[in-house]
Symmetry: C2
Amino acid sequence: MLKAVDEIRDLLGEDTVSVDSDDLDDHGYSEWSTSNTDVRPVAIIRPQTTEQVSSIACICTKYKVPMIPYGAGSSVEGNFSSPYSGVCLDLSGMDKIVAFHPEDMDIVVQAGVNWTNMNEEIKHTGLFLPLDPSPTALIGGMIATNCSGTNAMRYGTMKDYVINLTVVLSDGSVIKTRHRPRKTSAGYNLTGLFTGSEGTLGIITEATLKLAIVPEHFSVATATFSTVQEAADAAFKIMRRGVPLAALELMDDVQMRVINQSGGAGGRLWDENPTLFLKFSGSQNAVEDNINLAKEIVKSNSCRSFESAQTEDQMQSLWSARKQALWASLAVRPEGTQIWSTDVAVPLSRMAELIETSKEQASQLGLFTSVLGHVGDGNFHQIVMYNPDDEQQRQAVSDCVDEMMVRALEMEGTVSGEHGIGLGKKHCLQKELGSATIGVMKAIKDTLDPQ
Amino acid sequence: MLKAVDEIRDLLGEDTVSVDSDDLDDHGYSEWSTSNTDVRPVAIIRPQTTEQVSSIACICTKYKVPMIPYGAGSSVEGNFSSPYSGVCLDLSGMDKIVAFHPEDMDIVVQAGVNWTNMNEEIKHTGLFLPLDPSPTALIGGMIATNCSGTNAMRYGTMKDYVINLTVVLSDGSVIKTRHRPRKTSAGYNLTGLFTGSEGTLGIITEATLKLAIVPEHFSVATATFSTVQEAADAAFKIMRRGVPLAALELMDDVQMRVINQSGGAGGRLWDENPTLFLKFSGSQNAVEDNINLAKEIVKSNSCRSFESAQTEDQMQSLWSARKQALWASLAVRPEGTQIWSTDVAVPLSRMAELIETSKEQASQLGLFTSVLGHVGDGNFHQIVMYNPDDEQQRQAVSDCVDEMMVRALEMEGTVSGEHGIGLGKKHCLQKELGSATIGVMKAIKDTLDPQ
């Protein structure tokens, strides 16, 4: 491995290579993630171009050294861990917008571009990339994870915004998956294959992304219910009536309490009941129509209260409660505890049942747990607080999460809606897909990365 | 090959196998397609279940006999031709809805289900599959081609509606690509890999499809312009303003004339100018807002006339002109001529230029040609009439289409937006993707289908 690092240093220069132990730790471990290993990469390489990535791949292949592509390090399942050591390719320096085509509603970027910076930069054109993962995330990692967030119900997931990819394969060869039209049926969908492959089939260095139009008007409303089941039922009725929503989110009673404990959101305290957060967008009239229709539906479906924003400030206040959920959880956790955040998705009608069973089981195990869900996708997160030094508690969380995965699979769901598999869920993926399907995935991996 | 057919007959029964010469011709040749071969399959096999398809694949692999999956035969690029003979698997008998989950907004179907029949069957639930290819198309072929049609701008293409696939691989093994959640980031996207692979990586026998909500209200408008460029400019301005459209279609002056020559549409004659067809959907107020906004935009962008439907009848009449385009072309063609229908997609801003150059070139070659476009996707079709017995004219059409492909590629476009590659565009795909990318596709093909 060190021979490879020397050769890379000789080729790309001293500044491109770091073996600083803090740097290695930063790239080999994440506090956000529950799946870490004790192993670290031997070096961090910071390439600037696709050609440099290609050279690094050639050298690593020659010496049979593992390569781990790294973006913002915001993934939570050990997706960027280095269990067999190797070199870590930190792509955050590849942060250039290569070409912006507002007239084609697309943009060409390097993998290290941060999505919030990019959206800020193109805001004046009325275009944006409508994903909503961690604000720190970089485009390459977002593609590798097929990320999504609160906007997925309306806009879809990352795979729906990738037009083409430039990928460096393990042997250093460079491919571009396709040209730049918004629609195609020409050849195998390699773009879709690399998207969501978590850096295991090749290293994404550049992407052309579709952009969407920033809507004219927004509005936000909340509705509270006595149970998660009632909230989910009302949510699905709104969807089935075809009310166009920009987002449809759920937080349970515990999560609402956490927000109040952390000082509230939008300068106020909230009802501590299961709460739906609805976002509307479109023309003024369309937004008003849709709020009225949604209100009518929730009112006749056991809703305890319905509140819609009348001003921009109120809108910010209502939505901020949802957006601050994770930070609120981090803020209120007792000293020494950590957060285990997990992610499943099931067919829409099964979501409430899975949430309620999982909450019940966690509370039987004496765990503090809250839930937030992307209801419109049947996808939700459970956040469990635990003391990592208490082996019994650690085991209890692990069992709790594993049982939730098993139940999700029994409901024809998936063990990951948007966080990916990483190291943390490898054992679950086998259960989800079975050996024949995993066999095809392995065959593809062997073909593209034989070592 | 005949040994394999005998073994299949022994296993599945006499009724499953046909060697009737008309049947062979029907499955090996299509009048709609410009890419046919003289070779025919040796037999047509009509399996009823995934297990039967698997048995057929085992036998064919043992005897190294090519397998050609066949659906409705409505593709136009020789996608179901049998250039090396072999057995044709006609899946049209696998036409069962396996499970319908309105509560999850999805449906599980066999590959031979016809999409219009399916939509009719589930209409009472307010759900539908929002694709719009040939009315005769079957789900398996729609997936294999990654089809789309007039609804793609609003709803996306077939790949956006496939949740999972059951696929029989060449060696007879059966895989299910994933479970049934609407969203996932678990494992490689095999669903996306088989979608659009035109039957070359495996035989799709079953699929779970996402469904969308039938909108509450529809309306339709048309706007005429002096040039295709002006029409396209206005179309893109409507898109960039974020006006939500259900569809945005273009027909050129020649296509409008063809409709009038074939007796008009909706009981009337039309202005013979480049015409935009706009479809709106949503709440009553939203539809009205959007029509007004679209009208304002086209009026300040060189529009000659704008007409919006006031009644259901008018709406049918306006939209029928668009829907009847292909039939109108078939109706007015002179005795003995055939139609060469082709399909490209380019970045949005280049579409008008490509259409105008291609029209000009066709007219220089003395060809009768018309254009209809899915403007919102930068995707359009050119329909050229020619006499197949006139070798010079045939060559002229072929050159004209080839040059259009070359120009589309120069504009960073694709040689197929929605028809696929088949036999007809193999030579173009190499030009589009280059040898490294084609190499990866070939490697995947070799892995999944080594013979």
